[in-house]
Subunit: 197 residues, 4 copies
DNA sequence: ACTTAAGCGAGACGGTACGTCGCGTCTTCTC
DNA sequence: GAGAAGACGCGACGTACCGTCTCGCTTAAGT
């Protein structure tokens, strides 16, 4: 099992494969994605796929990631000084994404894939989720300095207080995801995090 | 598509199929579960499976559910008067379950399945998750009457404040799930829910 | 394995089964005949078929035979004194039957069935073919008495001289089966059988 | 329905499939031949069979044909000048073949298959039966030139006069097939074909 | 006339084989 | 030497029928 020489890799094929994978999922759902279909649609031999990716899940994750990285990093988290507004902004944005059927389907597919394959899970965590949590923590740290958040609050838990409820509701479809809901979550979180009184 | 006559259904086969499915997942993981293996292990024709379940996922969900329903309701939620202790009890119990590799694998398989098939999702929600959320809300309602929780708090959100962070951490494997973590979550949640001061 | 009591046999079911079998073959060909289809079409339980016939081939053969026995014995072989004319009559009649697509298909199905199952073969031979050969031999015997056929000719072979070529051509589709052909065969056969000169 | 590229066809698989099919029929009879068994015995995927043959019948016919074509033409028909002896030779040889249980079974299977599938019928006719009839006609033509057979005899019918009775007796099992029988048939045929006297 | 057991319709069952799909590997030929 | 093309061995799919096996129901026979 010799590893191929990346220098020789065809950029045209790489792109074609990723975009074929993405389009196929968009059209028919992740469950119907097959390596053969990707190869056919991309005008590529199957071997070319297997040479560079370990599984079709990896191709798909790559496809999604390469797309989301074309954006300037997805969600931003401004620091206007108004913590409540800043957090509400992110959460509402996330709610909007989950309410877009296209993105919803993609996210669920990605999640399902990551459940079955720990490798993909870490990749997703590292490349999508991690950065989001990080910038959020940054914002909370800044709020700590401003005395809006208890100095001793564990920020790793704090971010989960924000994103956990949203994620829970999205994954389990217990109730609709709305902007009000996002705001309620922010409200609760801020109360939980506020300095001792 | 004629629906079979349930009156004639063989109880012996039903049981054999469910327990075969469960055992196979326990032994080799959900990814390797096949209808043929279930049929073989259960000593049953494939058609008998397809006659009564639409997919192997449905069989598996049924298997898990029928098992979890042999227990008299699984998790209980006592009302000792000490809200913090009561909640900490449930969350720690859940953390323990997620830390049991067997149950962890089952839950992830169940979750992955429910991502791909909304029907299963609702079934799981209705038969496993729903009851848990319900008893939790009951406990919180009792706490409201006792003045430990703000009277106007939206309890649907409140339960997500409790379970959301745990679920988030479990699903995304961002950090280890510990009893301390459970307690921290309870702490934050109680602070968020406490009556205005 | 107790043999069922024929006295209790339902005549209505028997008829329904035979005619369902016959019709199904007529409609879709023998290859697509199934026991389940016969049962369904006849409004009969499968067990009723298995109780009275050993195989679907047997049902079909029975169906054909029961039909052909409604006729007064099928082909007749008159003795007008004109041997050539009498034989030409039968052979032409047989040729006509083989040229009827319905009968052609039935005969081929019957033949195929008898190839796979020696039991059916003997039944067919006994109930359809045998009588034909017998009456033909009778006619030839009468011709022997009239001095038109060599006294020492082996009549078992003689009839095969008549039917063999026709059968050969029908089975193997080497050439079309026509009345002229029937007459040529009769001509050759008579020449082969004529008394020494 | 894209047709596969024959250039890429694996010769090794082709051979293995044909010989597996042949052996399986020899061992257990045509009725028990299955595509799965062929594939398993040949060490081949089922798809490889379906890629190149339309049905298991076609595989079997191919198997038989490819074997019979390894022989340099099978039956020969010498021209010794003695027509009776030459014809008796072929008919006796054919009788011998039909009396070999192995060949008998093969021939019946082949015949049954050709009854159900006209395509196979023509193939068999073209590759096995046709050549035999042709060399026989050649021999009779030579006999015509020698004045042993009527100049105006229709040779297509003549050959059926020879093979028809044998075939009839073999197929319908009315009487045993013996060398004497073969000779009797030749005798009758020669008498039928002899020039006017 | 009344049981009572057989035949019957229906159809679920354990199986075998079907013909198809997709996997991941391998081979051949091209650029 | 990477890539397009696609045949291959393999494993599983979901379906069609097989022949067997209960289920109630009906129906004729024998008390």
């Amino acid at each position: 099992m010799k590893t191929p020489n990346p220098a020789r890799r065809s950029e045209r094929s790489r792109r074609a494969i990723l975009s074929a994978a993405f389009d196929l999922v968009a059209e028919a759902g992740y469950a119907k994605l097959t390596v053969e279909a990707i190869a056919a649609r991309a005008g590529v031999g199957k071997q070319t796929i297997y040479r560079w990716w370990p599984s079709k899940g990896a191709v798909f994750v790559d496809a999604v990631l390469s797309l989301s990285e074309d954006d300037t990093g997805g969600l931003s988290l401004p620091d206007t000084g108004d913590l409540r507004a800043d957090l509400s902004g992110v959460l509402r944005a996330i709610v909007d994404e989950y309410n877009d059927p296209r993105l919803d389907a993609m996210s669920r597919a990605l999640t399902a894939e990551s459940l079955a394959d720990p490798t993909l899970n870490s990749e997703i965590t590292a490349r999508i989720l991690g950065p989001l949590l990080e910038v959020t923590k940054d914002r909370l740290r800044s709020a700590q300095r401003a005395g809006q958040v208890a100095a001793d609050a564990d920020l790793s838990v704090a971010v989960e207080l924000l994103y956990g409820p949203i994620y829970h509701r999205w994954m389990l479809r217990t109730h609709p995801l709305t902007h009000e809901y996002a705001d309620t979550v922010v409200e609760f979180a801020l109360r939980a995090l506020e300095p001792a009184h």
